[in-house]
Symmetry: C2
Subunit: 272 residues, 2 copies
């Protein structure tokens, strides 16, 4: 095989590292892949770390020692996150997307991979310091963004469901009061998480906070601590939610009228 150039090694490493955020690769793995010396790989990685930082693409971290290696973490600067979310807000605001009952149609936003991945990276950036062991969401619409956040953090996704299916084995069920005031059930397989883990809750929509409150209680049943809560959208009303400490990407209000108009804004912390 012809000798592999630095630009080739760096490009391939970029693909491998960014394709599995949070996953540690040893220097040896790359030495073998490229047939290169450790000193050469160290120089490549230094160069990669610099370029990733220069172009606001995240961070390449090196961990020294026997269990050491190199890994990638996506990080979005507040400035680029704010600009991206601001653009989304412009698309969502106005009269066209308001549905009966003053709900907002944005399922399309929640299922466009490029947009969802970006939102997941922003959420991961905010909560990676809390070291969640997994991301928890409640079916259905928040699953893609929760998955994207889990991907950016390099941790598994755990999905709570409305009812325990016979084919998932033993489960823990809890009851909670939903936004509409109904008593609902939330269920999670016993195998899904382990005691003393740390959960990051991610969901698409926050109104009163009943479902989020339910997820917190569900985690208590598993002896899991909730280290953060992130939502794509939260409503301005009710102002008082059943949870606190959460971060939403956007806030939304619907101004009555004919037709009613949605006002969607990037949350304050994104403009800080």
């Amino acid at each position: 095989m012809e000798k592999i150039r630095r630009n080739e090694r760096m490009s391939v490493m970029m693909r491998i590292l960014t394709g599995a955020p949070g996953k540690m690769f040893t220097l040896n793995q790359f030495c073998e892949l490229f047939g290169a010396a450790k000193s050469t790989m160290s120089e490549d990685i230094d160069a990669l770390r610099k370029v990733v930082r220069d172009f606001d693409l995240g961070e390449v971290e090196t961990v020294t020692g026997a269990a050491g290696g190199v890994l990638y973490r996506p990080r979005r600067s507040r400035a680029s996150a704010g600009a991206f979310i601001g653009e989304l807000c412009r698309r969502l605001s106005g009269t066209e997307r308001v549905l009966p009952g003053n709900f907002l149609y944005y399922s399309d936003i929640l299922s466009t991979p490029e947009t969802v991945n970006r939102m997941g990276e922003i959420m991961a950036t905010e909560f990676s310091a809390e070291r969640p062991d997994f991301v928890l969401t409640m079916e259905t619409k928040g699953i893609p963004v929760a998955f994207a956040t889990a991907n950016a953090l390099g941790v598994p996704l755990v999905i709570a469901r409305h009812s325990s299916k016979v084919y998932e084995g033993s489960a823990v069920n809890i009851n909670y009061v939903s936004g509409s005031g109904n008593i609902e059930t939330m269920s999670l397989s016993r195998r899904a998480v382990r005691e003393n883990q740390q959960a990051l809750i991610v969901d698409d929509f926050l109104r009163g906070g009943g479902t989020a409150r339910g997820m917190v209680e569900l985690m208590r049943e598993f002896n899991v601590s909730v280290v953060g809560m992130a939502f794509v959208m939260s409503t301005l009303k009710p102002e008082k939610k059943k949870i606190s400490g959460e971060k939403s990407l956007m806030t939304m209000d619907v101004i009555p009228g004919d037709p009613p108009e949605a006002v969607v804004r990037a949350s304050d912390w994104l403009n800080g």
Copy 2:
């Protein structure tokens, strides 16, 4: 700003292109980003195309003409796909994961981002020639792998649900016969897809094919043609499904006994 080197330009382009599979970027965008001439960028892209092919990382395509540019498509060779799925089969086979009713526990596999992304790339590789406009799945467990497939194809994900929620606007509902023989409802928002589009169906599990059959019928209501069907796992029995032409990554059988034992194998087409 100091002059940007080729290894830096190539690494950054790799990140940008592979971060948005199927999305076209113009040469001009990269010229501006790097302050480089078109001829330089063309050379960089040629080098990138070669390295991506050499390391089995997919394909970098260039499209000439006024609407032209460069884009990335993840492609997994059959050999690497077969090796990856074979390893999964070893993890899933045996007695430990068999649940009451001879179901198999593999929700953890379906929610580990690195594994799910790889499965999505394999599915996208098989069906990208059919040019699907979107990926369709039925809630819940198949959503992550359907999202990963949509991501690899660069198309939106569309999620059919068990019931139409009031807050999603007008919807089309159909009834179908589920695996357990019950009549169930499948619902999709009218806004989710457009007439004459092409759908790729992706789901986690195929037994009798009732749910998949339902998705095909749902698409008929929207005048959408189904150009492919991909599943993570299909059961050997019943041999005759309510659909045909599908591709599964793995097949599964449970051998009765005390304890019962799961036999999970990579599908034949992966070993071809």
